[in-house]
C-alpha cells in the first residue's frame, strides 16, 4: 500500500525559502497564500539560543481533522494518503481552517496576481482560481499522478516529485512512499531520530522532521 509522506531534515534546512518560492511559482497560489512555508523559530534563552527553520504545510494526516469537520465532503483523503480539496464543492465556511492544528489552510479571495493586473506565466497557465474556497498543499498530486502514469517513481524521479522537494537546495526535503522499505523515506526514518508535529492530537501526520542521528548520544 502506498502512503506518500514528506521528510524535512531540520539539520539541513537553512531557511532559504526556495521551497516556498518553487511551490508558489509552480502552483500559482494567490497572493497571501503559501502552501509551503518555512517558519523561523528561535528556541532557548540567551546565550544558549538556536534558530530552527521549520518547513511546514499540510501534513496529509492519517486522521485529518479538516476532513472530519468539512460539511461538504470537499476535503477528501486519497488511498495514497494525500488530502485534497474539491474546490467545486467547498463553501468557504473556514471550519477546516479552524480544525487544522498546522495552520496549513487558507481561504482564497478575489482574483489577484503576484505582480500587477496581469497574470505571470504560471498564473495564466493555472487559470482562474475559485474565490472564497479553502486551499492548501496537495503534495503536487497532479504532478505525482502524471508521473506515476508515465512509470516514474515519486521521490526518486523529479518529474513525479513535489516541487518543494525538487527545489530544496540543501537536500533537506525528501518525498516518497513511506511504506516502501527500499525507499528514501523508510531509510531516513530508520536512520534518524524524528518527530511529527502535535503528535498528541492523534492526527498521524504524513510529515516527518529529522533532528538527530539514530543512536547518537
Amino acid at each position: 500500500m502506498t502512503r506518500y509522506a514528506m521528510v524535512a531534515d531540520l539539520r539541513r534546512c537553512v531557511g532559504c525559502q526556495t521551497c516556498t518560492a518553487a511551490c508558489k511559482e509552480g502552483n500559482a497560489t494567490p497572493p497571501g497564500v503559501q502552501w509551503r512555508r518555512v517558519l523561523d523559530i528561535e528556541r532557548g534563552t540567551y546565550p544558549d539560543v538556536q534558530r530552527v527553520f521549520l518547513p511546514i504545510g499540510c501534513q496529509h494526516c492519517d486522521e485529518p481533522p479538516c476532513l472530519e469537520v468539512c460539511p461538504t465532503t470537499a476535503t477528501r483523503k486519497r488511498a495514497d494518503g494525500i488530502v485534497t480539496i474539491d474546490e467545486s464543492l467547498c463553501i468557504g465556511c473556514s471550519y477546516c481552517i479552524m480544525a487544522c492544528p498546522y495552520e496549513a489552510r487558507a481561504l482564497t479571495g478575489a482574483e489577484a496576481y503576484a505582480f500587477g493586473d496581469r497574470p505571470i506565466a504560471s498564473e495564466a497557465a493555472r487559470g482562474t482560481r475559485p474565490e472564497g474556497v479553502a486551499t492548501k498543499c496537495d503534495f503536487c498530486a497532479a504532478r505525482i499522478d502524471a508521473g506515476v502514469a508515465r512509470g516514474l517513481v515519486p521521490g526518486r524521479d523529479a518529474e513525479a516529485t513535489p516541487l518543494c522537494a525538487n527545489a530544496c537546495i540543501s537536500g533537506a526535503l525528501s518525498f516518497g512512499d513511506r511504506d516502501d522499505p527500499e525507499g528514501p523515506i523508510a531509510r531516513l526514518l530508520a536512520e534518524n531520530r524524528w518527530f511529527r508535529l502535535h503528535e498528541e492530537e492523534g492526527t498521524g501526520p504524513g510529515f516527518y522532521y529529522l533532528w538527530d542521528r539514530e543512536g547518537a548520544p
Binding site: Q50, T72, M98, L107, E131, T135, L210, A216
Partner: protein
C-alpha cells in the same frame, strides 16, 4: 465573503460566527421556554417566534460569512462526521416543527421543536469541540457550558417578552446556576493547560469581566424576583442574563478562539553530517 484579494490565512472566526452561537443558544432557550409554557397551559407563541427568529438570524449571519453562500446547500453533504452538517439538519427539523407548533398550537409540537432546538444547540457545541486547532474550544468542558449558556440566555430573554409565564423565572434561575457551574468547570480546565492561558487572559479583560458581572447581577435579580414576585426585577435579571451570556460568547469565539502554535518537541542537532535526500545527490 472571503474578503482579501488573492487569499489569506485565517486565525479566528469573527462576530458573524459568534452571532450564530449566540442566536442558536438563545433560540434554543426560548424554544424550551415555549415548550414548558405550552405544557403548563400558557401562551407560548411569542417565545417560540423569537426563538426561531434568533436561530434563523444566527444562521443568516453564518451565511453572510461563508465564501460561497450560493453553494450553502452543500453543507448537508457530510452528516457522518461533521457537526456543521448535523447542525444544518437539526435546523431543517427545528423550523418546520416550530412553524407547525405556531400554526396548530399543539403542546406536543412545541415540545418536539424544543427537542430539535436542544439537538441543534448540541451540534453547535460539537462544532466548537471538534475544532482541534483551537485549544480553548476542544476542551470537553466546553460542551456543557455551551448547553447551559444557551438555556440561560434564552430563558433570560424570555423574561423580557410580555406575557411570559411567572414560572419562567425559576427556569431562568436554574439555567443561570447551571451556567455558573459549567463556567467554573470550564475555567478550571483552561487553567490546567499552558496553551489556554491566553484564553483565560481574554476572559480577564474588561469586556469579559463586565459580562461576568452582568451574569452575577442577573442571578441576584432573579433570586429577588422569585422571592418577591416582582416582574420588573425578573425582566432586568433576564436581560442581564442574556446580555452577559452573549458578550461572553462573543469573547469565546473571537478572542479566546485562537489557534495553537507550533510546538517543537526537539531541536536539530547540527553537524552530524550525512546526506538526507538520496534524490538530491544525483
Amino acid at each position: 465573503m472571503s474578503g482579501a484579494r488573492g487569499g489569506r490565512r485565517q486565525n479566528n472566526w469573527d462576530l458573524r460566527a459568534a452571532g450564530n452561537f449566540i442566536g442558536g443558544g438563545t433560540g434554543t432557550g426560548l424554544a424550551v421556554v415555549a415548550a414548558a409554557e405550552a405544557f403548563m397551559g400558557g401562551t407560548f407563541r411569542a417565545a417560540l417566534v423569537l426563538g426561531l427568529v434568533l436561530t434563523g438570524a444566527g444562521l443568516g449571519l453564518v451565511w453572510l460569512e461563508i465564501g460561497r453562500p450560493w453553494r450553502a446547500i452543500n453543507v448537508f453533504f457530510h452528516p457522518r462526521t461533521s457537526w456543521m452538517t448535523r447542525e444544518g439538519i437539526m435546523a431543517l427539523l427545528l423550523f418546520p416543527l416550530g412553524i407547525l407548533a405556531l400554526a396548530l398550537g399543539e403542546a406536543w409540537l412545541a415540545l418536539a421543536a424544543a427537542v430539535a432546538a436542544v439537538a441543534f444547540l448540541s451540534c453547535q457545541a460539537g462544532i466548537l469541540h471538534a475544532a482541534r486547532a483551537i485549544p480553548a474550544w476542544r476542551k470537553n468542558e466546553l460542551v456543557p457550558l455551551i448547553l447551559a449558556a444557551g438555556l440561560a440566555e434564552g430563558t433570560g430573554l424570555a423574561l423580557c417578552v410580555p406575557g411570559t409565564e411567572p414560572f419562567v423565572v425559576l427556569l431562568a434561575l436554574a439555567a443561570g446556576f447551571a451556567r455558573e457551574i459549567a463556567w467554573g468547570v470550564y475555567r478550571g480546565a483552561l487553567a490546567e493547560e499552558k496553551r489556554t492561558q491566553a484564553a483565560l487572559a481574554a476572559f480577564e479583560e474588561r469586556p469579559a469581566r463586565l459580562a461576568r458581572a452582568a451574569q452575577w447581577a442577573s442571578l441576584a435579580l432573579l433570586v429577588l424576583a422569585a422571592a418577591l414576585s416582582v416582574p420588573a426585577l425578573a425582566m432586568a435579571g433576564g436581560a442581564l442574563a442574556f446580555l452577559g451570556g452573549a458578550a461572553i460568547k462573543a469573547v469565546l469565539i473571537t478572542r479566546a478562539g485562537y489557534k495553537q502554535r507550533v510546538a517543537l518537541p526537539a531541536v536539530p542537532v547540527r553537524g552530524g553530517g550525512g546526506r538526507a535526500n538520496p534524490a538530491s545527490a544525483r
